[in-house]
């Protein structure tokens, strides 16, 4: 700062004059008492239509503005609780699900919630067929049959699926934000060119949630306003004001000064920096992201099982978690995040250069080989990639890093053009099938199949028997058996697959000390604002 001070005197002469008038206003920094002010990066939002939203910030918003038939309770993680349905049942053949609607619930427009609204909302997801639609269409629902498969019967919604699935799987999928119940009358009154209100719902809400969308400015902010007489009990705070602040240091300053109540994007350094501050608190939640390495099986010698095995010993899992990833990640060496049914918590692989070298020699590469590692150019991932480049190098594997913009790296990955890539994967719905069906399932490994959404396919990896095991596990109706099946799949997968699962991320939420009851939803659910007080 010393080198700046001469300028400061000159430059601020003008500023000082103007500032005199503004100083008292600037001092009024505290957030309004009835408003929860949050800073986060929200430029990931593509849409806030429940049938289309699939990014964290968007689904978090939807979680507070809409309700689903069945829900996860933020206070009892993992437990299925009634949402807009008061009870439900499954037919003996496991194909038909009946949900009896609660009575007396209204949308924010005042319209009563009916079974017809609920059935229409689910049909709408299938008909619009936006990115997250597969969560429903995987049950055999299609645009041309969905009106028969999902229908309103009196005060119940009846959903029929094409083949048997584990009921827990069906229910878990119906807790996802895309299954939100939408106000049919209001939305259809705003339909444009047969879009079922998709355009209108980009800047409006029509749900039963504790909050109503008051304003939304993309890449800038949104404001939610509490409803009176909400069926779950009114939200504690009248408003939620989400501000888009992408720079962590800026978020930290705002939080320290009391200009925001919650900061969701602080860096490790910032979290350490505020640790001694009695006005602030930090909440750690495991979230669902798995950070992994993937090796394209079309590239020699990455398709050699011995080489893959050697590489599993060439990642310094503990070293990274105890240094630059401290507080941000835990070691997780199988594809299901902790918190999911069947997740494994043991970590059999450690960093062992000698063992890796022996394996490479066995594979016929005693001197290693040369390859590339593509990675998104954000600081945390680059740091990880550099550490991996270093440890692979210790066994003679010379890695050239290929950093790129997110969409660029992803494009390369989906086109099966990468060699090694460092990636992260977040589950799509709170059921183990979401990760099993992408890491360990690939029914057609040919280029023409273009199963670009399936991670195994992107790596040209044929999981062999695992594909069938995944299909069986998702149909198993006994939950304990189902758990054991996923455990077995993961054990085989982590020893033989083209993936090296390394870490599960931890979400660190920094808050003012007076903020209570802020639930991020952890690995399974979205954020909950309506229980928050301050």
């Amino acid at each position: 700062m010393t080198s700046v001070s001469p300028f400061r005197k000159t430059g601020l002469a003008f500023a000082a004059a103007l500032m005199l008038g503004a100083a008292p206003a600037a001092l009024m920094a505290a957030t309004p008492a009835d408003t929860l002010v949050i800073a986060d990066g929200i430029d990931d939002i593509v849409s806030i239509d429940p049938a289309e939203a699939f990014e964290f910030s968007g689904t978090d918003l939807i979680n507070n503005v809409y309700d689903t038939l069945v829900e996860l309770d933020p206070l009892k993680p993992g437990e299925l609780v009634p949402g807009l349905a008061e009870s439900w049942s499954v037919s003996d053949d496991g194909l038909t699900f009946t949900f009896k609607m609660k009575s007396g619930v209204t949308f924010s427009s005042g319209n009563p919630v009916t079974a017809a609204d609920a059935a229409w909302s689910l049909q709408r997801v299938v008909k619009l067929d936006k990115t997250p639609a597969f969560i429903l269409t995987q049950f055999g629902l299609k645009a041309d049959n969905v009106e028969q498969m999902i229908r309103a019967e009196g005060d119940s919604v009846v959903m029929t699926i094409a083949k048997p699935f584990a009921p827990s799987m069906v229910f878990n999928c119906l807790t996802a934000q895309l299954a939100s119940v939408i106000d049919m009358k209001t939305v259809m009154a705003n339909e444009v060119n047969g879009d079922m209100g998709n355009e209108w719902l980009k800047s409006n809400s029509a749900g039963t949630g504790a909050y109503v969308l008051r304003s939304y400015k993309p890449q800038d902010s949104y404001v939610l306003e509490a409803r009176e007489g909400h069926w779950r009990g009114d939200a504690k705070l009248k408003r939620v004001f989400m501000r888009h602040v992408s720079e962590p240091a800026t978020q930290r300053l705002l939080l320290e000064k009391g200009d925001i109540d919650v900061a969701r994007g602080l860096s490790t350094t910032d979290i350490e920096g505020i640790s001694g501050n009695a006005d602030l608190q930090v909440m750690d939640d495991l979230d669902g992201y798995i950070y992994y390495l993937a090796m394209n099986q079309k590239k020699e010698p990455l398709n050699n099982p011995k080489v893959l095995e050697a590489m599993r010993y060439l990642v310094d899992y503990d070293g990274m978690v105890n240094s630059f990833l401290k507080g941000q990640m835990i070691v997780q060496q199988s594809f299901l995040p902790r918190g999911y049914l069947g997740a494994l918590e043991d970590t059999p692989y450690t960093f062992d250069v000698a063992k890796a070298k022996a394996l490479l020699a066995e594979a016929g590469f005693p001197d290693g080989f040369t390859t590339t590692l593509s990675v998104r150019n954000d600081p945390a991932r680059l740091e990880m990639a550099q550490a991996i480049q270093n440890t692979l190098g210790q066994a003679g594997i010379k890695v050239e890093l290929k950093p790129g913009a997110g969409a660029e790296v992803l494009g390369d990955y989906r086109a099966r053009n990468h060699e090694i890539t460092l990636q992260a994967w977040g589950p799509d719905y709170p059921d183990p099938h979401t990760n099993a069906s992408t890491f360990a399932w690939n029914p057609n490994n040919t280029d023409d199949a273009k199963l670009t959404g399936v991670l195994a396919w992107r790596n040209a990896y044929d999981p062999g028997e695992l594909t069938g095991m995944v299909d069986a596990a998702v149909q198993e109706r006994d939950t304990e058996k189902r758990r054991a099946m996923y455990q077995e799949i993961q054990q085989k997968h982590r020893d033989t697959s083209a993936f090296i699962s390394m870490f599960q991320s931890i979400a660190q939420t920094a808050m003012r000390a007076n903020v209570q009851g802020f639930h991020t939803g952890g690995t399974l659910d979205g954020v909950t604002y309506w229980l928050t007080t301050k």
Binding site: L18, A29, T131, F241, R243, E247, L254, A407
Partner: protein, 354 residues
């Protein structure tokens, strides 16, 4: 442009003007078309698939193809460009892939934030830079000259990101003299959002029009620091240029004549010499203003300032072409507009330019 002329004379001049005006329009159209073409081509050769950015990682191949068709990205490039230009001429800049809003609406939202910031920064820059440059030029080699040079060099070489954060830490974090990042405190932001009619989108202007002086004062406390940081950069540039223009002017014969005639030194410098320096200086100021109007990504990031720079950068990284092109059109228009404005100003300050 011709309407701003202050000395209407012979009708033949009017005719000449009209001809000049038509030429100008033609040049403008060519400039914009070239600008769009280059941006368009660049956007299509970068290895980013815009469809992926919007449908997301999980989308199936069928969903991707559907989106590609819906966005018209499956057509030949020249056809896409043609459609874009045709629509743009009719005032339709298309829809941003990322925000799903009309680009014109997006730009109307983000540009006022940048305009407000850039204008105040430029005012700071001129008010500090011109006197500093003149002082340095009239006392070459003295400590004042050295100081101005030092400050200018520091302005060039210090990363704006760092300077912004340090400024925030000191003036907001420690001293509490200014408002924090963002255009307003959260409470005022919501008051502005819901209680103040939107006229220009510039908070200072709109709150003044509505007579909401508490929000106005808060906005002032928020804009001072980022404007100060940007203003410092423009000051550094303006003071260096002023100094060299002034040195050149002070060595002219008419200055010597004025001095010999016994004219007071302040009058020689601040009236006679400065008047002649104004012409090149206007260009310098206009250019620096135009640079600020493109938006400064780093400043906008540090100060959580939702302006044009962030918008265009975000769009670029996601290959959101309509947004990038729309932003380019605005930036282009700003440059052209400021060029024309400095033309007009030349005529005002320099009689010879008529």
């Amino acid at each position: 442009m011709s309407t701003t002329d202050i000395s209407p004379r012979a009708p033949s001049r009017l005719k000449r003007r009209a001809k000049g005006f038509a030429g100008l329009l033609l040049a403008l159209a060519a400039t914009f078309l070239g600008l769009l073409l280059v941006t368009f081509v660049i956007s299509r050769v970068v290895p980013i698939d815009p469809v992926l950015s919007i449908v997301g990682e999980r989308a199936s191949q069928a969903q991707i193809e559907a989106a590609r068709t819906r966005l018209g990205l499956d057509r030949p490039m020249w056809e896409q460009f043609g459609i874009y230009v045709m629509n743009a001429v009719q005032g339709d800049l298309g829809q941003s892939l990322l925000t799903r809003r009309p680009v014109a609406e997006d730009v109307a939202r983000v540009f006022p934030a940048t305009l407000e910031l850039a204008t105040i920064a430029t005012i700071f820059g001129v008010l500090a830079g011109v006197p500093a440059g003149v002082l340095a030029a009239t006392r070459p080699g003295t400590w004042i000259d050295q100081l101005v040079r030092l400050i200018g060099l520091a302005g060039y070489s210090m990363p704006v990101f760092w300077l912004g954060l340090m400024g925030l830490l000191l003036f907001y974090g420690i001293l509490g003299w200014v408002g924090g990042p963002g255009r307003l405190d959260s409470g005022f932001e919501m008051m502005f959002e819901f209680d103040v009619p939107r006229v220009t989108g510039m908070i200072l202007v709109d709150t003044a029009l509505a007579g909401k002086w508490d929000i106005f004062a808060n906005a002032v406390s928020h804009i001072i620091l980022p404007a100060g940081v940007l203003g410092y950069y423009s000051m550094a540039y303006i003071s260096r240029m002023t100094r060299s223009f002034m040195m050149n002017e002070l060595s002219q014969e008419y200055i010597t004549t004025a001095r010999v005639k016994g004219m007071p030194e302040w009058r020689v410098i601040w009236v006679h010499a400065l008047k002649n320096v104004m012409v090149p200086l206007i260009t310098v100021i206009a250019l620096s203003y135009a640079n600020l109007l493109e938006g400064s990504v780093l400043t906008e990031t540090v100060f959580a300032w939702p302006g044009l720079g962030l918008y265009i950068t975000n769009a670029l990284f996601n290959a959101d072409m309509p947004a990038v092109l729309g932003g380019t059109v605005v930036v282009g228009a700003v440059f052209v507009g400021l060029n024309m404005l400095s033309d007009v100003l030349y005529r005002l300050v320099d009689p010879r330019a008529k």
